[in-house]
């Protein structure tokens, strides 16, 4: 009984404490950069799409809200033909970002995604792609990978020896 009364007194005293509330639309909250909000697709430092359409984000997604199709340009650089995220299903768990081997898919601090029409929550590649590198500057998957793309032949990636000549007779 005494405890209850004491509790009531303490709670009552809270009346004179400072409000913890942030008056959101009037006052913008400070959101940390690692916040898991709206998903974007970034570009590599050369301005090309980072996404190589490896399907790992789609596989990692627990609500299966990512669908894409891989395709290749004339120099066999792989990229997504379409890339669709259904944000009306997304739970912002960030597994896609964890799974992404090229740092292409990233979650951003933007959470203001309210829509009156669910259809507007379906984002295609044009809606997702941003012009910068996002959180991870500097990384370019195709500079590391062994495949050739336009402007990068075999042996020209980071830490690669020049290609072996199979017709050589030298030991």
């Amino acid at each position: 009984m005494w405890n209850s009364l004491k509790t009531m007194w303490i709670v009552f005293l809270h009346m004179f404490h400072r409000r913890a509330t942030i008056q959101y639309p009037d006052e913008k909250p400070n959101i940390p950069p690692r916040w898991r909000g709206r998903i974007i697709l970034s570009r590599d430092p050369d301005g090309e799409e980072r996404c190589v359409a490896c399907y790992l984000c789609a596989a990692a997604c627990p609500v299966d809200c990512i669908a894409l199709q891989a395709t290749e340009d004339e120099h066999e650089r792989r990229y997504p033909e379409f890339f669709r995220i259904n944000f009306s299903r997304c739970i912002f768990c960030g597994y896609c970002e964890e799974a992404c081997p090229t740092d292409a898919i990233q979650l951003t601090p933007d959470f203001e995604m309210g829509e009156y029409n669910r259809k507007n929550l379906v984002y295609e590649k044009e809606d997702l792609l941003i012009d910068g590198t996002g959180k991870y500057p500097g990384y370019n998957f195709y500079r590391v990978a062994g495949v050739t793309i336009g402007g990068k032949n075999k042996g020209e990636a980071e830490n690669e020896a020049s290609p072996v000549d199979p017709h050589s007779l030298l030991p």
Binding site: M8, H14, M15, H17, T21
Partner: protein, 326 residues
């Protein structure tokens, strides 16, 4: 004492109607406002703001809520018992309002002046439980049914000492008439001699109004809102308003029975009554803000093993005091 009684027949009725409608309107408005008051207070005690966006300080929040409630789909589940399902929310509203009829607000202000006013209040408030039980039953849903069962058992247990708790007051005042009881506190509010009565009645009252910490029939986190799981729109609204009218009723009764009703110096009686009622209501909200919900067995143990003996002891002492005084 009763102005209306002394007037002519038609005059008399007109006065009663004016009184009635006025009180009803104020009561409804107040109960509705209460939801905003409660939420602001809870915010205050939880370091939040509470509803503050609709109108100045958010006072119009209840208007927005009402519009929302009224425009929502009035859904009766196909598996429900239709007639009972519709009846249940009506009962809660009707019984609490009827009980309010006997509350003496100020001299000359009140719907009726019954000799057995206190008994009428007890009768009406115990009728209220039917709405909960019936609502739970008619919803034909396991959560609602459990809520209904809990309500029945809880009311049964707390009803017992609710009436008994007031008997001390009756003994001291020597009347069941509420205006007489108020008058009997001219010198000393009954909260002093009947401190035990006040405590037990307050607890029983909270339980009767199904307020936290005694909201086990509803307990949203285990029974998903219990007896009113299936209710929507204005039927839910009636339960909602019924609850707030109930709080107001219990607070008004506590003020009437223990804190001298409208009595008080300087200020007009009506203001005194409203002020005291409001303070009791605020205490109720504080209770909600501070205390957790007990377990069901704890609730029962508390009712039967603590509250009932305390009430009986209080009755015994009061009886002895009254007898010795006589």
């Amino acid at each position: 004492m009763d102005l209306a009684m002394n007037s002519g027949f038609s005059h008399e009725w007109a006065a009663i109607w004016v009184n009635l409608i006025l009180i009803l309107a104020v009561l409804f408005a107040f109960s509705a406002m209460l939801s905003w008051i409660e939420r602001r207070l809870l915010g205050l005690w939880q370091d939040r703001c509470g509803p503050n966006r609709v109108g100045p300080f958010g006072v119009l929040q209840i208007v927005a809520d009402s519009i929302k409630l009224l425009t929502k789909e009035d859904w009766i589940p196909p598996f429900a018992d239709r007639a009972v399902f519709v009846l249940a929310p009506a009962i809660v509203a009707v019984t609490t309002l009827l009980a309010f009829a006997v509350v003496p607000i100020a001299p000359g202000l009140g719907v009726v002046d019954l000799n057995i006013g206190l008994l009428f209040f007890l009768a009406m408030s115990s009728l209220g439980v039917y709405s909960i039980v019936l609502g739970g039953w008619a919803s034909n849903n396991k959560y609602s049914l459990l809520g209904g069962f809990r309500a029945a058992a809880q009311m049964l247990s707390y009803e017992v000492f609710m009436g008994l708790a007031l008997m001390g007051v009756v003994m001291l005042a020597g009347s069941f008439n509420l205006r007489d009881i108020v008058a009997a506190q001219e010198n000393l509010w009954f909260c002093i001699p009947q401190i035990l009565g006040l405590a037990t009645f307050a607890v029983a009252g909270i339980a009767e109004a199904r307020r936290l910490p005694f909201d086990l029939p509803e307990s949203e986190n285990e029974l998903v809102a219990g007896f009113h799981t299936e209710y929507s729109s204005m039927k839910f609204g009636l339960f909602f308003i019924g609850e707030y009218v109930g709080i107001t009723l219990i607070s008004a009764m506590i003020v009437t029975l223990f804190f001298g009703g409208w009595l008080g110096p300087l200020l007009p009686p009506l203001v005194w009554f409203l002020l005291k009622t409001l303070i009791v209501i605020v205490c109720f909200v504080l209770l909600r803000a501070a205390l957790p919900r007990p377990r069901y067995d704890q609730l029962m143990t508390y009712g039967w093993k603590v509250m009932l003996p305390v009430t009986l002891v209080n009755l015994l002492i009061t009886g002895a005091v009254v007898l010795s005084a006589a």
